[in-house]
């Protein structure tokens, strides 16, 4: 369990009740049929609850519950995981956080205010295709032209890329990483839908074929976005792991309940020591995941020097043990656990999807070693 202030508890329970009412698990399978995977009105009402304002400072039109905006957002993400809820939580918040910190007055008056109200949604086009698909590798070119930039390259997979109103594009220019905020639609990049595991999430492949974008679409300074991309990555990964904690919690609670009520050979399933010991391991994985996620969120909130180390430790751990936990819950259920009718797969899809995006567990482990080695050299 996360530690929460009273205000945070109240805020979280409002989101929890809303999600329970608006996206009950039985209805989630229907979202597989919807183009965006969620309903625009649902998202707009969520934005009214504060889902898009938490990592946006008050002077930019946002507001956190606790002065710990990242932790507040992590609590929303946790509830999203607990309900396997749909919606562009990650993309909209990453873009809103970026606009609030580095956006021009025009960018804040336009895209940011639309994101805050929930009228618009965001997506982050960061990941690229093989052979430069590893975490942090950005090869897409941004070439300066007379009145702006030309973007050239492929971004994929882009979560929420099909229906996002605005896209944050991370590219490499002559002077270094540069970010752009571009409208999604006619005149924008070519967008192709991808197949995906998570039924409520939509992914797209973006092709930029020397796409011209005006200078006004640059976010912050051209060539000066390395630190910003680093912080946004850590923010996004924190949202991911918090969401996974929620999905893990649902799976474990549901499976403990099942093991208490399911009888085999005249005894509850959960009375067999072999089964109990596996539950003990799962409980350890869950509590360790909470613990490191909390520290990661705190480090991103306060921009601590070891921020990225804690975030990568969280992604490594939750990314490796989250899927293991839900898979073991499937095993405890037996055949019913791999059916379409049982809800478990909704949560399995969520943890597996998050584990694979924005750096695999192994990539984050390798990143930890690189940070560690750099620190050794520095000292």
């Amino acid at each position: 369990m996360f530690t929460r202030s009273e205000d945070q508890q109240l805020f979280e329970s409002t989101t929890s009740r809303f999600l329970e009412a608006e996206c009950p698990l039985d209805a989630l399978r229907d979202t597989a049929e919807r183009p965006a995977g969620y309903d625009r009105e649902f998202w707009r009402r969520g934005a009214e609850l504060g889902w898009t304002s938490l990592v946006v400072p008050a002077d930019a039109g946002g507001g956190s519950i606790s002065e710990e905006g990242v932790k507040d957002l992590a609590l929303v993400a946790y509830q999203f995981g607990l309900h396997a809820a749909p919606g562009p939580l990650l993309g909209s918040n990453v873009l809103a956080a970026a606009l609030a910190r580095w956006g021009t007055t025009e960018q804040q008056a336009g895209p940011l205010s639309e994101l805050l109200s929930g009228r618009a949604t965001g997506a982050w086009a960061l990941a690229e295709v093989a052979p430069h698909d590893a975490l942090g590798l950005v090869q897409m070119r941004a070439t300066e032209s007379a009145d702006g930039f030309e973007l050239h390259g492929v971004k994929s997979p882009v979560e929420g890329g099909l229906d996002a109103t605005y896209v944050l594009v991370t590219a490499r220019g002559d002077q270094g990483l540069t970010q752009f905020v571009v409208p999604n639609g006619p005149g924008g990049p070519r967008v192709a839908p991808l197949h995906s595991l998570d039924m409520t999430k939509r992914f797209a492949r973006f092709e930029f074929d020397r796409l011209h974008v005006p200078r006004s679409s640059v976010l912050g300074h051209a060539g000066g976005a390395d630190a910003a991309v680093g912080w946004l990555t850590d923010l996004a990964v924190t949202v991911q792991v918090a969401e996974m904690c929620g999905a893990m919690r649902w799976a474990l609670d549901t499976t403990v309940e099942w093991a208490l009520n399911r009888y085999s050979f005249g005894r509850p399933l959960g009375s067999y020591q072999e089964i109990k010991h596996r539950f003990a391991d799962m409980k350890l994985w869950l509590e360790a995941s909470y613990a490191i996620t909390t520290q990661a969120a705190d480090a991103v909130d306060r921009d601590l020097p070891n921020r990225s180390e804690l975030v990568s430790a969280a992604k490594f751990y939750v990314g490796r043990y989250g899927p293991e936990l839900v898979q073991d819950c499937v095993q405890m259920h037996g055949g019913i656990g791999v059916t379409y009718d049982h809800h478990l797969h909704l949560f399995l899809r969520r943890v597996v999807t998050n584990a694979a995006l924005l750096g695999t567990p192994n990539q984050h482990a390798a990143r930890l070693t690189e940070m560690f080695a750099a620190r050794q050299v520095a000292s």
Binding site: K276, A313, N362
Partner: protein, 424 residues
């Protein structure tokens, strides 16, 4: 009453900082805390003498027993003060004899001892004059503590102890032990136990040192034959020793972090296995061999680094849950399980990183060779201090609420409970 206003944590931390800088020797490795390097007996005894001096230094400076009442030689402060001290001590030498002396042994005395017992036994501990050990496990079984066969029979104002204890670290050099013994064979097992304070070097106690597969001779077995001790050395009521053991085990679990009686650099557990042989420490060696660029090597070292950070986070998280009452102290079993499985992973990773040099090495390759010996000892981290199986029982039954194991030994007199035909 001489009521002193409690010093603020900030003032205390500032005072500790300047006192440490003036009086405490700096650790050679710059980190401080506890080291587990193997020594021969002479070196070990010299090291223990050094630990006694360090403890005395802390005592004389007013930094021993932060949470121990002033009446027993402590400082009468709070866990927050201890935590503040722990944040200041990194980089200084500290006595590595605090476990099990300070906790669980002193913790148990503070919790269950009479005024006289506390006044008599706690000050020597804080002054570094007495090292304590635990006479707990027996050859008949390590996990089933309540199945103790060592017997104490009352004889006037004395008790006569007979039996054998095992896995006592450092009994050959320690002074005192907390000893669990059976005082009644005619009641169910948990209701016939008592706890005693036993001086280790006395007539009737014979010590045997056990050689482990890695050559270590830290562990001892003790044979008790007609050992006579006064009733004033009994801790807690007769036949109610199991209540004492419950808290004893709780304090032992806090050794991994969160004990208010242990002074150790913050973020570092009080007892560390294999600090020098952990996978991250191998990185320079692998760099020297030109293998550090290998993706697999980076992933494995990264896994070990992640486990370090997650373990620290988990320890703080569980301690916080217990402190605020959001969780029962049974949750400490999560920390015990973590340390077991994380140590196993680290040992395995180090072994794999070393490759062939883990099993055959030259003098120059000694660092890699050590990983092989440590790998052979790997399971010790899941056995010593309560097995991980016991921790998993506690988590599943006491934390998750799954059904308890069926017991055949609870409602019958202990003398009727089936036992192994031989204690081995």
């Amino acid at each position: 009453m001489n009521e002193r206003a409690v010093e603020s944590v900030e003032d205390f931390a500032a005072r500790a900082r300047s006192w440490l800088a003036q009086h405490m020797p700096r650790a050679a490795d710059g980190v401080g805390g506890f080291k587990g390097a193997r020594r021969d007996d002479d070196e070990e005894l010299a090291h223990l003498e050094h630990c006694r001096q360090l403890q005395r230094l802390l005592f004389d400076g007013g930094f021993a027993g932060i949470c121990v009442p002033r009446a027993y030689g402590g400082q009468g402060l709070t866990p927050a003060h201890q935590a503040a001290l722990n944040s200041e001590v990194r980089g200084y030498e500290l006595p590595d004899t605090q476990v099990p002396t300070m906790t669980p042994c002193m913790s148990v005395i503070l919790e269950f001892g009479t005024e006289e017992q506390k006044a008599l036994h706690v000050p020597p501990i804080l002054k570094g004059e007495a090292f304590w050990m635990q006479f707990l496990s027996e050859p008949s079984g390590g996990s089933d503590l309540a199945g103790a066969l060592t017997t104490a029979v009352r004889d006037g104002d004395e008790w006569v102890l007979n039996g054998s204890k095992i896995w006592t670290t450092g009994a050959w050099w320690a002074d005192w032990a907390l000893c669990l013994a059976r005082t009644n064979w005619d009641v169910p097992k948990h209701r016939g136990l008592s706890v005693f304070m036993v001086q280790i070097r006395q007539p009737g106690i014979e010590l045997h040192r056990i050689e482990m597969l890695n050559g270590s001779r830290e562990f001892c077995q003790e044979f008790l034959t007609d050992v006579r001790i006064p009733d004033s050395l009994r801790i807690g009521p007769v036949d109610e020793g199991w209540t004492v053991v419950g808290r004893w085990m709780y304090h032992e679990r806090t050794v991994a972090g969160g004990s208010p009686y242990v002074t150790a650099p913050a973020g570092q557990p009080a007892v560390q296995l294999d600090t020098t042989g952990g996978p991250p420490a191998l990185l320079p060696v692998l760099q020297g061999l030109g293998r550090a660029e290998d993706t697999r090597v980076r992933e494995q070292i990264g896994e070990s680094l992640a486990l370090g950070l997650v373990g620290d986070a988990l320890t703080a998280h569980v301690a916080e849950q217990i402190r605020t009452g959001a969780a029962t102290d049974q949750w400490a079993a999560l920390i015990r399980l973590w340390h077991g499985v994380a140590a196993v992973r680290n040992s395995t990773i180090a072994f794999e990183l070393a490759g062939a040099n883990a099993v055959a090495w030259s003098d120059e390759e000694r660092r890699l060779g050590q990983t092989g010996v440590r790998f052979l000892m790997r399971q010790a981290s899941c056995i010593a201090g309560g097995t991980t199986e016991m921790a998993r029982n506690a988590i599943s039954e006491r934390v998750l609420g799954l059904p308890r194991e069926r017991r055949v030994d609870v409602d019958v007199p202990f003398r009727d409970v089936p036992r192994s035909s031989s204690p081995h």
